[in-house]
Symmetry: none
Subunit: 216 residues, 2 copies
DNA sequence: TATTCTTTTTAATGAAATTTAAAATTAAAT
DNA sequence: ATTTAATTTTAAATTTCATTAAAAAGAATA
């Protein structure tokens, strides 16, 4: 069952962690940055209702919890909801319904704190809040200047930026054209971001500047 | 049906407004200060799904909507939820279940509920009300400045905070950059929180600031 | 009030990391 | 072939951090 749901959700683009018992599930909630919990009632080690209660007492008051169960009686539904679940789904259920309920729970507006801004270009991802960058899932360590440059390039992806624009935005220099820092730093970025991948994302437009885009 | 629900809810102590068609229901949402909507799909003048959509586009993004319907097929449930409903109840239903679902929807969003707020990051727990901090179950004694700093860092976990932001929030200083109190206090926190544990939670991002997160 | 203890701030140090300018190399355009 | 533009490499200069110690400020106690 868990494998089935996990695979289905991953195919929809969700990032899924699976716990096969209640204790470990609770641990995942603490460890990872979870947006929503799908919780079966009957679990080894710790009952799903107890897990829900614990999640709430830990302070995750707005984390959506959808309970899954075979027990479809009104008493069970009422008890499950009163343990802190936000929603209740009775087995057997259609996967499409689970998806719809997940969408309903994670709709913007419901989602509280965790709206961290991400910029994406192909398999390159930048988290502006965490100041972190990954390519193909692997984290890339950048210095602050490298990060600011990449941020500026990504925020203007599909647009050619000349050296003066870049100098003004990233270095706060409005005159001195006798420097080649931009070139040097584009080189640093290429080494870290493009070198080991076939698909290049940073492109030179000779006589004009640089552009980040997916090549055709 | 509406009369039955209305009476039942009133007996539970809820303040109820009843609308016998969609247009008037929408009007009530705009006029009154509604905490939750129980919405039948089949309605005169305006369909329940349309009402839900309108409520959302009017800007009531978090107002809970529970849909009632006789159409229990998956397609209908999915459509109802995607119209903006938070929950879906199939007729005939037990009144107790409706009550439980209403409680689930109005639980944490309810005003005034001042239960102790906890912030958790891995095995580090902060009780903001009790002003207490534990790591791996062991209590950690913090001075007030240390606590305020940790609180700010934890409330912004997974986000890099630069020294100016920290100074402004924790020390109420908006200019003086000639101080290194932040560094010194981060060092104090590290000694108390991270030093004796393998998993470090406070991280330096050189040239950018500090971040609290679980390292991957 | 004086004394002691705790907390907070400032300052100084050395180590580590980052940034920069300049030169050397390579590639592109005329 | 020559000029111009772009890239890479190097090493020195600079910045940023962590840590420590000591001074200053604040609380608690006698």
């Amino acid at each position: 069952m868990a494998a089935f749901i996990s695979q289905g959700l991953q195919e929809e683009g969700y990032n899924v962690f699976v716990a096969y018992d209640g204790i470990y599930g609770l641990e995942l909630v603490k460890q990872k940055n979870i947006d929503l919990v799908v919780l079966d009632i009957i679990l080894p080690k710790m009952d799903g209702r107890e897990v829900a209660k614990q999640i709430r007492t830990l302070g995750f008051t707005t984390l959506p919890i959808i309970m899954l169960t075979a027990l479809g009686t009104t008493e069970n539904i009422v008890m499950g909801l009163d343990c802190g679940a936000d929603d209740y789904l009775i087995k057997p259920f259609k996967f499409k319904e689970l998806l719809a309920r997940i969408r309903a729970r994670t709709r913007s507006g419901n989602l509280g704190e965790n709206n961290n801004q991400k910029i994406v270009l192909s398999d390159l991802e930048m988290d502006v809040d965490a100041k972190s960058v990954t390519r193909a899932g692997k984290t890339i360590k950048l210095t602050s200047t490298e990060f600011r440059l990449l941020e500026f390039l990504l925020k203007n992806k599909n647009k050619v930026l000349n050296r003066v624009e870049i100098l003004e935005s990233v270095w706060d220099i409005n005159f001195n054209l006798g420097t080649n820092v931009v070139d040097v730093y584009v080189n640093y970025l290429r080494n870290k971001i493009d070198k080991q991948y076939n698909e290049k994302l940073i492109h030179t437009v000779i006589g004009m500047g640089y552009i980040m885009k997916i090549n055709n």
